[in-house]
Structure formats: C-alpha cells, structure tokens
C-alpha cells in the first residue's frame, strides 16, 4: 500500500523530513518499507498489519504521526450547502421510508449501517488536477470526478464508498439483500458473475446493482451521461465480505478494508466528503443524508490499570505518559481510583482491534517505543530437562556422521503408489495436497531416500551415503494418528564397496555374487555399528523383510527377538522402476523400538595377561550351511577359553565343486589365568572340527 507523506502533512504540521518520518512510523509498527520519488511526489511503500485497517489511509497514518510527535491532528470537516445538513434517521426497524431516498436493509446483521445521499444535476468530467495527481501517485487511475471522489476518500480516510447513476436504479429504491441462487451481476470490471444465496448484494427494485462491499455493478455505473448520483457508504459484516471476495476471487481495495473492519462512525463523514468533492468540481444539488442504522457497534469501555501496564511491560512508565499516548490516538480516558490507579478508557470507533486491557497496554508500549524499554534477564532456578531420547538421538547422529553418512532432510509427503509399495501401514491422506506425488504423509522413509540417491546418481555423484532421522505418519489399528521415529540409511554400491578396507574382504571368489556378499557385509557393518551404540545382548538376523528389498540380499535385525531394522540391497525391480544407475543399499531403523534400549555403557575388562592362540580351520560346506550355523555349533561346545570365532576367507569355484564353498575359520583361544598348553589346544581344536563336521563340513588338509 502506498502513502504520500505530503498528503499526511496536510493533517499534521510536521517539521521532520520524509526519511525520518518513515523511520519513526516503522518504529511504531506502521511500517514504511520503502521510499520512492522526491519532494511532493515522495511515496512510502507501506506494510500495515491486517489488524490495523484504520491505518491503511492517510488520515490514519496522520493520526499515528500526531501521536508520535505529540502534535495536533487537524479534523476533516466537509463543507456542504446548509440545506443538506445531516438528518439522521436511526431507525431500528432497518427501513427508513420517510427519508429522501428509500432504503430497505433486509439483512441488518450483515449490514448494520447504510448511509446515502442523492446528488442531482451534477456534471461528470475529469477530476481537478490536485485529485488526479494524488491518485496517480498512489497508482490509481483517475476516471471521472464522481468515481475519483470515492477513491480519494478511500485513500484519505479509509472508508470505501460507491456512486451509482441514480437514473439507472430501477424502481427508485435500494434494497440490501441476499442474492438469489443463479442471479447474475456484471461487476465494474466487466465480468458477469453468477451469484449464490450466500452473496450479499445492493439491489434496486429489480436487480442487483452491486456486490456488497466488494465491487459495484457495471450497468449502474457513472458515465459521461450521468446527471444524478446516489452516494453509498455502508458498513458490512467483515466475514461476509471475506467469503464473497474469496468466492468470486475478487480482491478489491474496498473488500480489503471491509474484511478487516471499517470505521462504523465514518459512514456519514465519508458520504459527505464524497459529496463535497463532487460538488466542488461538478456542482449540483445535494439531498439530505439517509442513515439507516440497524445495530450500533459501540464498544464497551475498557479499564486500564497503571499497575498492570508495569506488570506486563516492566520499567516505570507513569500514568501521565500512558494518558498522553492513548489520548493522541483518539482514546478517551477518565482517571479513576486512588491517585489515578486506573483509567476508564473509551475506544474510538475506528479501532476494532482494541477490546481489552492488554490491547491498550500494547498501544502504550508501541507508541512509547519498544526499543526504549530496558533489556532485562529474568531470574530462574528450574532445572534444564532434555527430551527423553535426546542423548540417544545425538549418539546415533554422531555415529552415522563418523561412518561417512551425510545427514539429509527430505520432504514429508509421498505418493499413494509409494505408500503402497513401501509400507503396509494405513496412511494419512492430505485433503489439499500440493501434487499427486505428495498426496499422503510418508509411511516409510525409503521412497524419499531413494529419490535422494537417484538425484545424486543422476548428477554423476556415485559415492553417496545419506542418512535421515525423522518421523513417519500412520493410522494405528484403532484409527489414532501416530508419528513413529525412524532412521534411514542409504548408500550406493560405489560407496559401500569403497568403505570396505582391502584387508576386510572375506569372499575372494570372482563374480557378482562375491561382490554382492562383500558389499552387503560392508553395509551391514554400518547398521551394526549404529545398533551397537545401544545395550543389546541378543542381536539376530533373519530374512523377513519388506518387498522393496532384494529377498536374497537383505536382512531384518532383531533385538531380543523384536524387529528393529531392515536393510540390504534394493530389489532390482524397484531399482529399475526408479532408473537407479547403480545398485543401492537402504536401511530403515525403528527408533521407537531401538530407544527402548539404553545406550551401551562402557565397561572395563582387565587386559589379558597371557597370550592368545589362534587356530585356523579350512572347511568345505554345502551352500546351504550358513556361518551362523557354524557359530552356533561351535558355541554349543561351551569352550570357556574360546574368545573369538571368525571367518577369514571364503572361496567358491576353482577346485571347489558347484553348490559348495570353502571357508577358512579362525578360533582364538585364551585363558585369563595361564598360558594354554598344546595338548588342551589340540583337544579343543578337535572338538571344533567335530562340531563343524557335524554340519556336513569336510575339513581340507
């Protein structure tokens, strides 16, 4: 919104320059965001809050200005011919038949006040230079003296008005009513609008002639031929105007102000001011004012306690300062109580935003100047409480970063199709999604992660490791919304292979299977490293995973038997559908489950005093025998001195028959009490060999 400081100076005798004025207005919340032009053509670009429609005009800004500098504010007093004095008819019936122009308000709740004047025998012509110039300065196009008068008054005092060609109003009367469904009205912008019974209209005896508070009708507008004019200035229900404006996608300067609340007491003033301006340029004979008031909008007085101002604002403003500030803004204050302990304050009609004591306190603070209040720090003795899982989350984040995963944040929406593909949970669907691809809240972190991996691969970043910790959104079985926390890891094959140290390779056979096995192990290690931050005495793995993972190259991790994560290579078909240029690996960790575990506590064990002995066993097994089985078989021996049992090398092909593989296993034996003897080592080795043979293994010699 634009404001001309020159125009403001008409109402207040200012000594400060425009730049200073802009700064001082901004400091009281009437923000002048920019200044353009110079001299009399200077214009402020204003940013005025929606709660302050009273300041969306020059007189309103002048009022704030007068309060800032403690200067007198000059009144606006239209000079009209004496015959046309205000003769108000405050009928509560909503109808005023005995007045110069018949006006019927059928919707008194939505139109509590309708003021009008008839002006006969005027000449429609271009506006005087001063009016035209001012409107142009505000980017308003001058049209004709009558139309410009309404526009000028809108920018001067903020009250929208309208002028009709009186002779085009059929039946010689005005009715304020709801439109009939399907009724049509061509508005001033030339658009024919189909009305509904929710629209409020100004109508003549036959037809709607204006969309109430939004825009007038085309067919009754002022033209060069117009001689007789009806000036309308009404007060409309803000909610009704807002809905109509939205319904017709028609936002006008008038609707902007009515939506936020116009000044109830300015209908006569604005009507008179429009009449004055038309008379000045076009002449004519002015009729009496018609003022139909169905309901008054008086606000109850508000009590302002000096002590309350200090309790909320701090500092030591005195009663005289409060009095001065509020008085300047148009509030009437009556000091009451002992030593003026409080004021009874009457709220001016243009301040619809002020209803309570706290609203007055804000006015006092605002005009006193926020920056003038001294900065203080409150005393406090409470303890600082972290979120219950803050330490766990921080630990996971640190570990993921240390493992080379970059933290990512993705959008929270996914498509219906992805929701179905990646999770079996019931989705929360959006009423007004941004797009089809973002129509439900994510039930899985996987689609977002895959999108990010694909984004990188499509930009030739091949070594990609990402992690994200966030919520998924589900409807529980009982229909309650839940927001479980998840962590998701994503990595490309390049990254997964790259992080495997040369010495860590187990499977030395050639071919894709060995590559896949090693890549999987590398990724699994990352998942294990994250889980290992938590107390977990029983971590196991099985193959029960979601369908988006490769069934042969993925696993589910269980903590004490409860699923906590699933991870592995993406199913080739999912990868193909997303045109992923590489195999990628994904892990979804259920943080709700994981956080039930405590963080692993560091515990000291004395370092061994006696040397450890390593024994290697080379075996050939059928492919169906897993390492886990060997581990269990050896574990069942319950050898107290067995410290560790690990695979060292795996090989398929060559001399090893199909469906079989060779594996080199290493047992580490150690005692805390003594050096082990050869005979006992031999005895245990024999037991290990026997256990492995029990699984069908054949020892190589």
């Amino acid at each position: 919104m634009k404001i001309s400081p020159q125009w403001v100076r008409e109402f207040v005798d200012l000594t400060v320059d425009d730049r200073r004025l802009a700064e001082d207005l901004t400091a009281v919340g009437i923000a002048a965001e920019g200044i353009s032009g110079s001299g009399a053509d200077t214009v402020f670009e204003m940013e005025i809050g929606t709660n302050r429609p009273d300041a969306m005009n020059h007189y309103g800004v002048a009022r704030e200005t007068a309060a800032i500098y403690d200067l007198p504010l000059k009144p606006i007093e239209p000079k009209l011919p004496s015959a046309a004095k205000a003769a108000s008819s405050s009928g509560s019936s909503g109808t005023a038949e005995a007045v110069p122009f018949p006006i019927t308000v059928e919707e008194p709740q939505l139109c509590p006040r309708f003021t009008a004047r008839v002006l006969r025998g005027t000449r429609i012509q271009p506006s005087p230079e001063k009016i035209a110039r001012r409107l142009q300065l505000l980017d308003q196009r001058p049209i004709s003296n009558a139309v410009d008068a309404t526009n000028y008054v809108l920018w001067e005092i903020g009250k929208p008005t309208h002028v009709f060609d009186l002779d085009l109003l059929e039946g010689g009367k005005i009715i304020v009513r709801k439109a009939k469904d399907g009724e049509k009205l061509k508005t001033l912008d030339g658009v024919e609008r189909k009305l509904t019974s929710e629209d409020l209209v100004v109508a003549d005896a036959k037809k709607p002639v204006g969309l109430a508070g939004v825009m007038g009708g085309y067919d009754t507008m002022i033209t060069e031929k117009t001689r007789n004019v009806l000036i309308e200035s009404a007060w409309w229900d803000p909610v009704t105007i807002r809905k109509t404006s939205r319904r017709h996608a028609l936002h006008t300067d008038a609707s902007h102000r009515f939506e936020r609340g116009a000044d109830f007491e300015s209908t006569v003033l604005s009507c008179d001011r429009v009449a004055e301006l038309i008379l000045e340029s076009g002449g004519g004979e002015l009729g009496d004012v018609v003022d139909v008031v169905s309901k008054r909008m008086d606000q109850a007085p508000v009590v302002l306690r000096v002590s309350e101002v200090r309790r909320i604002l701090g500092g030591n403003l005195d009663a005289a300062q409060m009095f001065r500030i509020l008085k300047k803004l148009g509030f009437e204050l009556i000091p009451e109580g002992q030593a003026d302990a409080y004021f009874r304050v009457r709220i001016p009609s243009w301040r619809l935003d002020v209803e309570r004591e706290i609203d007055l306190i804000e006015e006092v603070a605002r005009l006193h100047g926020y920056d003038k209040f001294q900065n203080t720090l409150p005393a406090y003795s409470g303890a600082v409480i972290e979120l219950p899982d803050a330490a766990k989350e921080a630990t996971l984040r640190k570990r993921a970063l240390a493992l080379g995963y970059n933290e990512a944040v993705s959008l929270t929406f996914i498509s219906h199709a992805d929701a179905e593909e990646f999770s079996s949970a019931k989705v929360l669907e959006l009423e007004n999604p941004l797009s089809e691809e973002a129509s439900v809240m994510r039930t899985s972190m996987a689609p977002g992660m895959l999108d990010m991996l694909a984004w990188n691969l499509n930009r030739d970043s091949e070594d990609v490791r990402l992690f994200e910790m966030a919520h998924v959104y589900e409807l529980s079985a009982s229909g309650e919304r839940i927001e479980p926390r998840r962590a998701c890891l994503g990595a490309t094959l390049t990254a997964v292979k790259g992080s495997l140290p040369a010495g860590a390779v187990l499977d030395v056979s050639k071919g894709d299977q060995a590559t896949a096995a090693e890549a999987f192990r590398s990724f699994k290690g990352d998942v294990e490293n994250l889980l290992a931050a938590f107390e977990c005495d029983n971590l196991t793995f099985d193959r029960q995973v979601a369908e988006y993972l490769h069934p042969g190259r993925s696993a589910r991790a269980l903590l004490n038997g409860a699923p906590v994560a699933q991870f592995g290579q993406i199913h080739p078909e999912v990868a193909a559908a997303r045109k992923l240029r590489q195999d990628v690996f994904l892990a979804e960790i259920d943080l709700e489950r994981l956080y039930q575990q405590g963080l692993r506590k560091a515990q000291f064990r004395p370092l061994p005093k006696y040397p450890a002995v390593e024994r290697d066993f080379s075996f050939i097994f059928a492919d169906s025998v897993s390492f886990e089985q060997m581990q269990k078989a050896v574990g069942h021996l319950r050898l107290g001195e067995l410290r560790d049992f690990q695979p060292v090398e795996i090989f398929r092909g060559g001399a090893i028959g199909a469906g079989k593989y060779s594996i080199l296993l290493r047992a580490t034996l150690q005692s805390a009490e003594r050096t082990l003897r050869d005979d006992e080592i031999a005895q245990w080795s024999a037991k290990i060999v026997a256990a492995l043979q029990g699984l069908g293994g054949v020892q190589r010699t």
Binding site: I312, A365, L377, L401, A402, L403, N406, F413, L428, M441
Partner: protein
C-alpha cells in the same frame, strides 16, 4: 622368496618388459633393507659379481640364448635399462649406507657437527613427497538446518530452557483455537494450511492438519507442566506453499516460551538480545518493531543488524542484498503471551492475573540460508552430497 633370474622362452617386448620389471622391483626391495657396509657388500656381490652375479646371469640367460632376431632388442634392454639402473640403485644405496655409518660413528664419538651433516644426508635420502594429497576417509556432514537448530537450542539451554516437542499432525484446537485464532481466521484456509483428508464429520477443533508452526507445543506443554516454565521447541512445520527458492511446504521452526509470576516485556527483550549476541556475535544490535500475532500481545518482530554487511547496508561498494540495504534483518516474531491463551490452560496454574510470559518463534531454514549464504532453499531438501559435504 629370494629373486632368481628366470629363463626366458618368450622374447617379445612385452615379456621382456615384464621380466625387467620383476627384476628391478626385486632389486629395490632388497636394496631398501640394506643398512650396513657388510650388508651392502653382500648386495653388491649378489647383483654385480662378475662371476654369477645377477647381471651376469641376465647376460647369460637372456642375451646369449636369445634368437638372432631378438638379440638387438634384448641387448639394448640389458645394457640401457638393467645395467644402468642396477648401478644407479647400488650407488644410491651405498651413499646412504655410508651416511648411516658416519651417523653411527659420529653418534658414538659424540661429534656433533659431523653427526648433524650425516643426519641431514640420511633424512634427505629418506624424504618423501609430502605434497601428495592425504587419504581422507569420508566424514558425514550434519545437515545445515539441524546444525543451526541445535546451535539455537543450545543457546537457550544455557539460559535454563528445557526442550519440548509435540506432534506434527495436529488438531485445529492446538494449532489455532487455543492460540487465540478467531474462528474465521484466514490461516485456517486450505490455501494456507495443509489438512488431513476425511475430517468433515469431526467438530472443527478436532480436525487434523499439519501444524503450521511449533506454537501448539506451547499449549501442550502448559497442559502438562505447571508454571514456572521455560521451554524451547524445535521441529518441522508445514504450510501450503509450493516449493521455490525461498519457500518449502515443509520447514523448521524453533519456538520459545517462558512463563512465571514476573515475566515482563523487558525480559523478552533482554533474553532475545542476549540470544542473538550468542548466535551472531557480540557486536550485533537488536531492534524490536511492533507486529501482530493472535497468540501474543504486545507482539514484536525482532531485527538484528545484518550479519552479512554488519549493519552498513553495503558490501564494499555493492548494495547488501540479504538485508535489502537496510542494515537490518528480521529474524523472528515474539511477544507477551496473550491472556486469552492462558485462559485455555488456566486450570493448570496459568491464571493470566497471576502469571505472565513471553513467546518467540523463528524459522530455522531461513536463518541457515542467511548464515551460510545459500541462495536456494530447495538445496536443503534434495540430499545432494555436493551441497551437504560443504558443511562437513
């Protein structure tokens, strides 16, 4: 296993190259292990002894037996490559061994000057190219938004604030009603807020939506905890804004709330002034301008002196873009908790006649954008490692 000169059956250039490479790498390896004169002498004899030294063997086994047409090629290889390289390596090693010897003797005799010279020579011979790039194991980068959020939270934790959180899918009650939004407030429009589908049968206050700010957690926390409280609430919020360089339908906020029997507007100002200095440096200035929010009154916007241009509005001779040349940047909205908000939790000790409080809320994404000079908000949400690694 020690190197032995193989017999050649294939005299092609490739085979010859391979044999030469093996021989020279064996030489390098053996020579590197030599540290004393006797060891050097053994090495020299093994490689250069006229009778049966490795070079002699090469002559015998490769050159003499070579077919006529390969002779020239083999001869050239033996003389120009093997002979010269073997001699060079032996010479170099002998120098080094000599220096080692001097070093040893000087050390034993306590001859400082000679010791230094010998030490220098030895160290020089052992020096490597330290300008070769180091092998960097990848370290992940914390997301700039999370990092900024954590920084802000920790500033307030030091001031005694606890951390609170709440659901992202919220009810109208917590997101709007209890925060004093009037029933017809435009923020409730589908144009501004994302709603969960199929809620029409519920009363308005129970309808689900994606919270548009972290403020609902103020109410949730006050329902659970009696005053005094001091909390910060970091979290994700959503609005119906299509993604562009400065908008995202999902973004991050940090909310703060302090309620006690004696909290004033001056406390709000002092607390935020302190926090801004912690965040942006002690030279930063703050300014509070009147604003409007349904859940605070008086309400303010907090401006800080632009941390790009330091408040001058200029960067060198260029206008400062981030602050639009004003020297000030708006960083957050704040205000004194509106008494109407307290009314909703009055039964838990929040009688607006007895307690007062302040609240503030800031957009983390925008702060991160300004802090790191990022020009497109979307970069935060694409997971592009080229972007993320910049924050490592």
């Amino acid at each position: 296993m020690a190197y032995t000169v193989p017999k050649l059956t294939d005299y092609s250039t490739a085979a010859l190259d391979r044999a030469t490479r093996d021989l020279l790498s064996a030489l390098e390896e053996e020579s590197a292990a030599v540290r004393t004169e006797p060891e050097y002498e053994a090495l020299r004899i093994r490689w250069r002894a006229r009778k049966d030294g490795i070079v002699t063997q090469v002559n015998d086994l490769w050159l003499k037996t070579a077919p006529r047409q390969a002779k020239r090629n083999v001869g050239q290889k033996v003389n120009e490559v093997i002979l010269s390289r073997v001699d060079a390596v032996l010479q170099e090693r002998h120098d080094h061994v000599k220096n080692l010897g001097i070093l040893e003797k000087a050390r034993a005799a306590g001859l400082d000057a000679e010791l230094d010279a010998a030490r220098c020579a030895v160290e020089l011979a052992e020096s490597i190219d330290i300008t070769l790039p180091g092998v960097r194991r990848p370290i992940g980068a914390e997301h700039p938004i999370i990092r900024t959020s954590n920084e802000i939270v920790s500033v307030f934790q030091k001031l005694g604030y606890s951390v609170a959180d709440g659901p992202i899918v919220e009810t109208d009650y917590y997101n709007f009603e209890a925060l004093n939004f009037p029933p017809n407030h435009p923020a409730r429009d589908t144009q501004d807020t994302l709603f969960i589908a199929n809620q029409q049968s519920k009363p308005q206050r129970e309808r689900l939506l994606l919270r548009t700010h972290t403020s609902p957690v103020q109410i949730r926390t006050m329902e659970k905890m009696r005053p005094p409280i001091r909390i910060v609430i970091p979290g994700q919020v959503h609005r119906n804004d299509p993604p562009d360089a400065s908008h995202s339908p999902m973004f991050h906020q940090i909310e703060g709330l302090a309620v006690d029997t004696n909290i004033t507007f001056g406390d709000l100002k002092g607390t935020l002034d302190h926090a801004m200095k912690e965040l942006f440096g002690s030279s930063v200035k703050t300014s509070f301008r009147p604003s409007f929010f349904p859940f605070t009154e008086p309400s303010a916007e907090l401006y800080v002196t632009c941390f790009v241009c330091g408040g001058s509005g200029k960067r060198g001779t260029e206008p400062c873009r981030p602050c639009k040349q004003t020297g000030w940047m708006e960083v957050l909205g704040c205000g004194m908790v509106d008494p109407n908000v307290f009314e909703f939790v009055k039964d838990n000790g929040y009688d607006p006649k007895k307690v007062s409080g302040f609240a503030f809320g800031m957009g983390v994404d925008r702060l991160a954008l300004l802090k790191y000079g990022v020009d497109d908000l979307q970069l935060f949400f694409q997971g592009d490692v080229r972007f993320l690694q910049q924050f490592s």
